[in-house]
Amino acid sequence: MFHADWLTNNFAFPVLMSVPYELQRYFIQIRPIEDCDAEDGVSLGHILVDAVEAVEGPDRASVIRAFFIRTAMLRESAFTSFEEMITATLVHHSFRRKVATMLGMRKGGSKIRPAVRSTDPGMLTAADAETIGIGFERIILTSATHVEAVDELLRMYPALGRVAQQHGWFQPMLETVAKRRMAITPFGQKLRLWIGAGFSMADMISDIVSIVGMMQAGQVMGAYGLIGLLSASVAMQLLFNVVINKHRGPHAVAWEVILVLSLLKPGVDALRVASNSETASSIDPFTEMLVGKAIEIAFESGPGAALQAVIVLSGHWSTAAVVSVGISCLSIGFTTAMMAFDIDTNPVQRKKVPEFYGFTPDDPRRRLLVWVELFALHSTHATVKTLTLAMLLRTNWRWLVAYVAGDFCTFILYKLARADLLFWVPGELKVRHPVQFPPGFFLLFYLIFFGRSRASAVLGLSLSREGGA
């Protein structure tokens, strides 16, 4: 089945579709600009990138020049220097330039280009367009999705925003170009996805190594605990994948089950998102990947790290267990940082709640910096919390329960004191359920953790079975 797909995509389609493709390219190039819409923009973006990717190196500039001369809607658009911008974005993709672009450094030194000040697309010079093109490339490298990349580009350069308002095909075309660039560039989102998948798989593998080490060392309970967590994580992943793929039939479900059981699922998810592939599952690949990572954190990384930290703190530790704790915490930090960054840079969120979302700067170098800082912040937090819980559990489990309960009660009391306990659901739905703690809850808590005699003395009650406190 999979060989048939591969043959179809790589041989059958290119041969059978060559004539329709040429016809589409011909008609889209002669189509009058006033008749073009968003669908034409998408088609034009694909055809342009196809033409550019068919050649290598400096020849790409001449291909772009010829394409712009032949295409009516590009030739007659309000953005007179559009060709220079596309050339700056799509040509010269050397390894050094990609690294320098992502880090915000110019090739050949730290020369700073003058800012583009004009808001009139007709007044943009070739130098301005080149600056915008290089900026677009940087944005593509540091954005989570192609839609976010173009949205940011239009906000950064108001002249392009005016072109987008004037021509309905302009923004879809740029989004298609960004989508295609993201699919092939090894940096940016793709690198991030692969690192995330690497952490997930390394986490699972280190857990297995740790389990073997514990078994060899006779720490059977710890090993069983870790096996239980790993099994729970895999079981939840299986359940989730069966639910979202069951409508595709038993073969598709079986394939997803094999991916989960072989621990390759995080890598395949990353590949699907990075290549912008369309899957037939109920949800899109990015959401599928995020849910998978959330399950992994909830059932495996978090509890697994705490369990292994408890064993490490017993003093009878192995190198594998220490490495596994570290990888689990880094995995939690990486996933959380990715989600925090994506939510903050999401154009929809920024438009809906601009007073809260949008702290990430628009400059790509500072964006990268923010991402690294978020990763460090979340990883260290997860590690510190894991260590705290493990140390308290190792010393006295009652202190752990008291700490967790006290911490939660502090949160609730803070919310009560601020008259903010009611949860205001973001959106149009508002839920108001009055919440009350029964006084018996606090009494029970006190009795359990501070002993019967002290409670009796405080309350003046006789609680012991023998009839005296």
């Binding site: 003093g315 937090h381 705290t388």
Partner: protein, 163 residues
């Protein structure tokens, strides 16, 4: 209460920065919780250092391995029921057998201080890197209700949701 419980669990386990939203934990509580997490870690380390006596190898073996007993007290051999087995000598098992019953104080506190230092540095760097107008959201005392109301009452930029 369930929502509050879940957001507290996520906040504690990950320190998710978007939970500083007033609708969830709020900016002030977010920072307070982060600082308290680090303080609690030092307190827990102090308790571990002073109260935890460590488990002898044989006790640990007995507690975790069920019927494995007298690992250390028997010298080089471990008694498994009626069978005597040699102590592990390679790989993770050797690491396990060679270690003492407790992490030493210097290693423990050095690790925690290093983690705290990285956290403080990354937080300060984040404050310096983000757009200045959003720094206040990390210490904001605004409540979820006030935030939701202001979202609908003060949004001149989005007239379609103005009340």
């Amino acid at each position: 209460l369930v929502c509050r419980f879940l957001e507290k669990v996520v906040l504690d386990s990950t320190g998710f920065v978007q939970l500083r939203n007033p609708v969830y934990a709020g900016g002030f509580y977010y920072c307070f919780n982060a600082v308290m997490t680090h303080i609690a870690c030092y307190v827990a380390a102090g308790l571990y250092s002073s109260r935890y006596t460590g488990m002898a190898f044989d006790q640990s073996y007995s507690a975790t391995g069920g019927n494995l007993t007298n690992a250390a007290t028997n010298g080089a051999n471990t008694t498994v029921g009626d069978t005597t087995a040699p102590l592990p000598t390679n790989g993770a098992a050797a690491d396990y057998a060679a270690s003492s019953g407790k992490i030493d104080d210097f290693t423990l506190f050095a690790t925690i201080m290093a983690l705290s230092a990285v956290w403080v540095l990354s937080f300060v760097a984040l404050m310096l890197t983000i757009k200045p107008q959003y720094r206040g959201s990390f210490v904001s005392l605004q409540t979820g209700g006030a935030f939701s109301q202001s979202h609908f009452l003060d949004r001149s930029a989005c007239p379609h949701i103005l009340v």
